[in-house]
């Protein structure tokens, strides 16, 4: 990349010259940014080596969720949370619509975790397919998906061994089956 643009005619203008001079000043970034990127890269590499759950397990997990009656979206935006319910670590933002898919962001609060992935109907329950990335320093992990309208069973896998779903779900569904599954409806 050359720097010959510094001598471009347009920069003969004093105002623009000062604007460009200002914009070339360094911008301070979070010094942990590189480390977070490396952590994410390592986490993805580890997940790629993790064994995939077999088809029988996946069928059981999905069946348990359906039997528990979690047909409605159990991932509630904060403003829809019942009074007194614990703060949900999971939020979904359904964003841009396109001809056949919508942008969905999943967010999970998982402090002190080294890697988080989401597995579900949309990625064939593959723990290596959809890792979340950490943002900030508060233990928040996010991932963006492109999903066609429909219902998806899914859950989070933390550090390759611990499952997590929305704690605002009625405890019966969880205690009955022990399957931490959520259902997301994309409309």
């Amino acid at each position: 990349m050359s720097m010959s643009a510094e001598h471009d005619d347009a920069l003969d203008d004093e105002v623009l010259r000062q604007v460009v001079s200002e914009l070339r000043r360094p911008v301070r970034l979070d010094p942990s940014l590189d480390r977070r990127a490396l952590d994410q890269i390592r986490a993805e590499a580890t997940l790629r080596m993790a064994p995939r759950p077999d088809r029988r397990w996946r069928a059981w997990l999905a069946g348990a969720a359906v039997a528990a009656g979690v047909g409605l979206a159990v991932v509630l935006p904060d403003q829809q949370r019942p009074a007194g319910a614990p703060a949900s670590p999971v939020t979904v933002e359904q964003g841009e619509a396109s001809s056949d898919a919508r942008s969905v962001r999943l967010r999970l609060a998982a402090p002190a975790s080294s890697r988080v992935a989401v597995v579900g109907d949309f990625n064939d329950w593959d723990p290596a397919a959809t890792p979340l990335r950490p943002v900030g320093d508060g233990g928040t992990w996010i991932v963006e998906l492109r999903l066609k309208p429909g219902r998806y069973h899914y859950t989070f896998l933390i550090d390759g061994r611990r499952w997590a779903r929305d704690p605002s779900e009625p405890p019966a569904a969880e205690s009955d089956f022990g399957a931490p599954v959520s259902v997301l409806t994309v409309s």
């Binding site: 990349m1 050359s2 720097m3 010959s4 643009a5 510094e6 471009d8 347009a10 920069l11 203008d13 004093e14 105002v15 623009l16 000062q18 604007v19 460009v20 200002e22 914009l23 070339r24 000043r25 360094p26 911008v27 301070r28 970034l29 979070d30 940014l33 590189d34 977070r36 990127a37 490396l38 994410q40 890269i41 390592r42 993805e44 964003g95 841009e96 942008s103 990335r133 943002v135 900030g136």
Partner: protein, 178 residues
């Protein structure tokens, strides 16, 4: 003497993550500055840059000219900023975050206000005008390099740069002479 980009890419592909860390360190400030000016706030700029680093690592084997790793990575950063920018426009989430570097000696006494005005003026540009202006004048790319990076034709890029320049000049002239 520091390792070349090509050498660091080769070491990374061989499994040496410290080599990739060195590449990130080499480019983080330059590309972070671009992301900051494109997105208008530090948090989104850092997220875009972190995403870019991870995405670049995932597809590093497809970097056909490792000696031009910087240009290859920059293209990923530019594309990532476009994506984040579109998301921000949908959510209307902008704030006038400013560089917080230490004031240099001899700086204008109203420097903070001047930076604020520049940020606001950039914000008023269409995203592709802003992108072209930053690539051309702040990052110092040639038009051919910009065309390769953005996929736009050179005449279109020249027009975007000119219009961005005209708009910035118009928006900031009164502030500048104050």
């Amino acid at each position: 003497m520091s390792d070349s980009d090509a050498a660091l890419v080769a070491r990374t592909l061989g499994g040496d993550l410290t080599a990739y860390a060195a590449l990130m360190t080499r480019y983080r400030d330059k590309f972070g500055r671009y992301a900051f000016h494109m997105l208008g706030n530090r948090e989104d700029a850092q997220e875009a840059l972190q995403d870019s680093f991870v995405r670049a690592f995932r597809s590093l084997a497809s970097c056909r000219q490792p000696e031009r790793f910087g240009a290859w990575l920059f293209r990923i950063v530019v594309n990532r900023c476009r994506t984040v920018r579109r998301r921000l426009q949908r959510s209307r989430r902008f704030d006038a975050d400013l560089p917080d570097d230490v004031a240099a000696g001899g700086e204008r006494p109203d420097a903070f206000e001047w930076r604020d005005e520049i940020g606001q003026a950039l914000e008023q540009l269409r995203p592709h005008y802003r992108e072209a202006f930053l690539l051309r004048y702040v990052e110092g790319l040639e038009y051919a390099e910009m065309a390769e990076m953005t996929g736009a034709k050179e005449p279109a890029l020249r027009m975007r740069v000119k219009r961005a320049s005209d708009q910035l000049r118009e928006l900031l002239r009164d502030v500048h002479v104050r």
